[in-house]
């Protein structure tokens, strides 16, 4: 990969090879990767919250699972991707602190994962692999050339999904 495009919190980006996509230190947020295997057009959204309809101030569409995926697909189509060919990968959604109460605040990672899965299911996009949940942060790097998502965590070997 020539250049890795950094995608920050509540942000999204799309690209074609030889560029790649990365997001650093993913915690309870979820990284949603979409990929068209024929044109190799790829997108990465770093979402923070599950549902834009539950929040009053929802103008930042990259922040929510539902609106970020829609926007990312539009952007990918502009680069030549075809909707019906898209496949997905998910990473993140950790529970960073092991709270003993079951309030919403504590389960936001899990809710983000569920929202991302449901959104992709509604659009008929298959999730071919995911590394989600648990209690640790992840740095992810997507290579559009190979379709590989590498995941780095502290104190564990790099995995590729």
């Amino acid at each position: 990969m020539d250049e890795l495009i950094k995608v920050g919190m509540a942000d999204l980006n799309v690209c074609l090879p030889p560029k790649g996509l990365t997001t650093l230190g993913l915690g309870s947020c979820v990284g949603i990767i979409l990929y068209d295997p024929i044109t190799k057009v790829s997108g990465l959204a770093h979402i923070m919250l599950p549902d834009s309809t539950k929040i009053k101030n929802n103008s930042n569409i990259a922040k929510f699972a539902d609106t970020a995926v829609d926007k990312m697909i539009d952007d990918m189509c502009l680069l030549g991707a075809k909707r019906n060919r898209l496949i997905g990968k998910l990473a993140g959604g950790a529970q960073m602190f092991s709270f003993n109460s079951a309030s919403d605040l504590m389960r936001v990672g899990e809710r983000n994962i569920i929202a991302a899965r449901e959104k992709l299911k509604d659009l008929g996009i298959r999730i071919i692999s995911e590394d989600t949940g648990n209690n640790y942060g992840r740095t992810i790097e997507f290579n559009p050339e190979t379709g590989e998502l590498s995941i780095r965590t502290i104190g564990k070997p790099i995995i590729i999904i």
Binding site: G8, M9, A10, D11, L24, G25, L26, G27, S28, C29, M48, L49, I55, N57, S59, N60, K63, A94, M96, F97, S98, F99, L105, V108, N135, Y136, G137, R138, T139, I154
Partner: protein
């Protein structure tokens, strides 16, 4: 009362928040100083209003490994309080506290983790009780929760809370240090939006 957000915060309000950081961290630092029986210097508090993607830059980059101790805050003020240490500082702090020689810098033992958690409890407690005394508002803190991981991942927890109300996060950040065997850390107070209004109101600044 007009609704508060971080786009229209004025310099007087910022000064007040900075002063809260100063008093809170001053008390916390004193508590820590007594605990380890050493003199600790405290920096001038910074009030940062930052975009989400700049948040982890404050703590040395998204992948920088840190120790985060988080308490949820309830009562008349709601939100979170976080105490953050660089991992090297955390080891130094434990070594000073337990009078150990510098040993393994990579891993924390069960005893280390327990000590860190207790340190977090004592000093965030001191921070919050001074805030409570200053504002005359009742503040109840949860037990401390600890995580050792990438700064970005740890900060995603408070960032998501801010994300529910806007696109920026406000951090009242105070660093402190113990000269020789450097211990550097930050206190981050993260009240929700209503609580900011209450804090400023209680000091006669808002509304």
């Amino acid at each position: 009362m007009s609704e508060m957000n971080f786009d229209n915060i004025d310099s007087i309000q910022l000064d007040i928040l900075r002063e809260i950081g100063n008093i809170g961290a001053g008390n916390a630092t004193t508590a820590l100083s007594q605990l380890i029986n050493r003199r600790i210097d405290m920096g001038i508090p910074k009030v940062n209003i930052s975009e989400f993607n700049e948040l982890s830059e404050v703590l040395g980059g998204a992948e920088n490994q840190i120790v985060g101790i988080l308490l949820s805050v309830e009562g008349e003020i709601n939100g979170m309080m976080m105490f953050v240490l660089e991992t090297a500082s955390a080891h130094n702090l434990i070594n000073i506290l337990m009078e150990k020689e510098i040993d393994n810098f990579d891993e924390f033992s069960e005893m280390d983790l327990s000590a860190l958690s207790e340190i977090g409890n004592i000093i965030t407690g001191a921070y919050l009780s001074s805030l409570s005394a200053l504002t005359n508002l009742r503040i109840v803190a949860s037990v401390p929760y600890m995580a050792i991981d990438m700064a970005g991942a740890i900060l995603s927890v408070p960032a998501i809370e801010f994300g529910k109300i806007g696109d920026k996060a406000l951090l009242i950040q105070t660093d402190f240090g113990e000269g020789k065997e450097s211990v550097f850390g930050y206190f981050i107070l993260i009240p929700d939006m209503k609580s900011y209004e209450k804090i400023l109101n209680s000091l006669g600044i808002w509304g």
